[in-house]
Each structure stands twice: as C-alpha cells, then as structure tokens.
C-alpha cells in the first residue's frame, strides 16, 4: 500500500514538474509564452522575408514599400533611418514580413515605390520606377531585400538588391 502511494506521488510530482517547466519539457522546439498561456494563431510562423533599408547619406530618409498578399491584402510599409552615423544603430531599419499571412494567404509581391529624404526646403521624393518583386520569381521565403540609399543630396540614388 505504501509502495503504491509512493508510485502515485512520484507520478504526480513528475507531471507537475513537466507542467511547471512549460512546453519545452515535452518538446525542445517549443517555448513558453510570455505572461500566460500559449496563444492560438490562425497561422503558425513559417519564416520571413526581410527588408533592410540602409541609409548611407547624411540626411534622414524614409523608404516606402507596398506589400501585396495573395488574399488581396495590401500593406504600405515605411522604413525610416537617420543619416549614416557609425556610433548608433538608427541609420538602418529592418522590417520582417512573415511568408504566410493567415488563412492560407502568402506574400504575392513587394514593391519599393520611393525614398523620401529631408532637406532644408522640405521632403524630397526620389521615385523608384521599377515593377514590384514577385514571389516565386524574384522573391522566396528567406529572401533579403536590401534597399541602399546613398550619395550626397541632391545627388542621391537608390539601389535595390535581393539576396
């Protein structure tokens, strides 16, 4: 009888330990949610496309992009970065777009529309007249879009590269 009680107690203790330690005790690929129980999502994260805006000029600038999804969703993304300064991390900005966007949707295209920079006379728009990058052709999950803005105003140019 005492042995049986010990077995039950041991089983209870093990289960309590597993529950208290969170999901990782059952599956090392899982992590605990912050501040409470796990959260249900319509789509679990599957990877990202990163958009990196690097400002090599000496003036603040903003890159404007349009992200279009296969479900018809459209999102205008703005990335702002201060002028190049080796002493801080505010001269570049990185956005992350999840490859899946819920309910079976995914990213269809990402287009850079323009880069706007600040000048003494007000904002100056540098248009980027190229077609949007299409998923499966120019882009894949895990791609990096690097937007480089360089030069000395007003002689500036924008470069877009996909890695």
């Amino acid at each position: 009888m005492i042995r049986r009680r010990l077995r039950v107690s041991a089983a209870l203790a093990a289960l309590a330990l597993a529950a208290g330690a969170g999901c990782s005790s059952l599956n090392p690929g899982l992590a605990a949610a912050v501040g409470g129980s796990a959260i249900p999502l319509t789509t679990s994260p599957s990877g990202v496309i990163l958009i990196v805006f690097m400002n090599l000029t000496n003036v603040p600038a903003r890159a404007s992009l349009v992200v279009t999804n296969t479900n018809g969703g459209r999102y205008q993304l703005g990335l702002t970065a201060l002028g190049f300064d080796a002493t801080n991390d505010l001269d570049y900005a990185i956005a992350a777009q999840d490859c899946t966007v819920g309910n079976g949707g995914s990213i269809q295209s990402i287009g850079l529309t323009d880069v706007t920079y600040a000048s003494a006379t007000g904002p100056v728009v540098v248009p980027f007249d190229r077609p949007a990058l299409t998923s499966g052709v120019d882009l894949n999950c895990g791609s990096v879009l690097a937007v480089t803005f360089q030069g000395t105003p007003p002689n500036v140019f924008v470069n877009l590269t996909v890695y």
Binding site: L50, G105, C141, S143
Partner: protein
C-alpha cells in the same frame, strides 16, 4: 477468470488526469499555437545574430496603428506600424541588440491608450497595451522573436486584447535548412559599415 473493473474517479485519479491534461491545455501539442517553432525550413527567430525580432499579428476586424517602443540603453526609439489591416494580418521589425526593454506605446505606463484601431464603420478606438514593458533576460534573450498578437475582446467589441508570445532563438537556430535571412542581413550591415564586427559567439 475475467475481472470486471469499474473506472472510479477518486480524488487522486482526478488530480492525475488534471495534471496530465495541463500540457495539452497550455497548447504544447497544438500546431496552431504561437510558440510553435518546429519543422520550418526557414528560421522564425534571429538565433545567433545580434537582433530581436518583434512581430505584430492582427487578428481583429480593425485596421491597427501600433507603435513599437524599445530601450537600447541610449535612447528609446519608436518604430511605427501603421494601418495594419486584417487581410495583411502581420508584419514585424527586426531590432538591433541590445534591446533592454520593449513595449507597445509606452515603456512605463501600460495603461496609456497607444494602439489605434479603426473599424470598418469608421469608428476609431485607442486602446492600451495592458502589459508592463518586457525586459531582456527575463522575458526574452538576444536572438528571440516576440509576437504581439492582437485579438478582439469577446466581452466588449470596443476593446482589444494583446497577447504576447516568444519564439526561443536558441531552439529555433537548428531549424534553418534553406536560407538564413538574419545571417545575410548581419553580413550586409557589416559590409556597409553599419555594424563594426560580428560579436564573439554570434
């Protein structure tokens, strides 16, 4: 000789059953939960690179403006996510490490109404984050992903709930098989002089 056994729910058995169901209830085995990070061909967290990724998931029927504010030890920059509509679903930002504290809107006042929700009928509602700022070392580490999942509140249509999830960068690092966008980004920044050196161990 066969024995007829009847399942009787004694308090001890009931306790065992409850404890056994806790991991299931917390979502460990459900693939649609936020902290699932297995089986992907691409990393879902920065892992060994000197970043913290913050993603905002819009599971409401409203268009959201969400200011992500963080403390890098020198300043408290804000990254604005504007007009995130339900169909666009989610977007995110990759912040350079260190990120000492992280919140939506206000690092010190969780009740400040900083999330703006615009509904289809044109009504605009400002709602608070509702959580204290997350802290490095306690709520997240270098290389993790933090997810702010914004959902409608069943009790009040005019209110929104923010839930917070974390993908552990340490456990996610091994899942990379096809591409490593975070590693590529780190090299790009290094090549262009935005960061000076790859830190040891990263």
């Amino acid at each position: 000789m066969m024995r007829n056994r009847t399942l009787v729910f004694t308090p001890r058995r009931l306790a065992l059953a409850l404890f056994g169901s806790l991991p299931l209830a917390s979502g460990c085995l459900n693939p649609n939960l936020v902290n699932q990070a297995v089986g992907s061909f691409y990393p879902t967290a920065p892992g060994n690179t000197p970043f913290l990724m913050v993603q905002v998931v819009n599971q409401t029927q409203a268009r959201l403006d969400v200011p992500i504010v963080y403390d890098n030890g020198v300043t408290t920059p804000t990254f604005y996510i504007r007009s995130l509509n339900p169909r666009s679903h989610d977007t995110g930002v990759v912040l350079p490490w260190p990120v000492l504290r992280l919140a939506i809107g206000d690092l010190t006042n969780p009740l400040a109404p900083t999330i703006s929700a615009t509904y289809a009928n044109g009504a605009v509602q400002a709602v608070p984050f509702g959580h204290y700022a997350l802290e490095a070392g306690r709520d997240y580490q270098r290389g993790d992903t933090i997810l702010f999942v914004i959902t409608g509140n069943a009790q009040s249509p005019a209110y929104l709930d923010v839930s917070i999830g974390r993908i552990d960068g340490a456990t996610d690092a091994g899942a990379t098989q096809r591409a490593d966008p975070f590693g590529v980004t780190e090299l790009l920044l290094l090549q262009n002089g935005f960061i000076t050196a790859i830190p040891l161990g990263g």
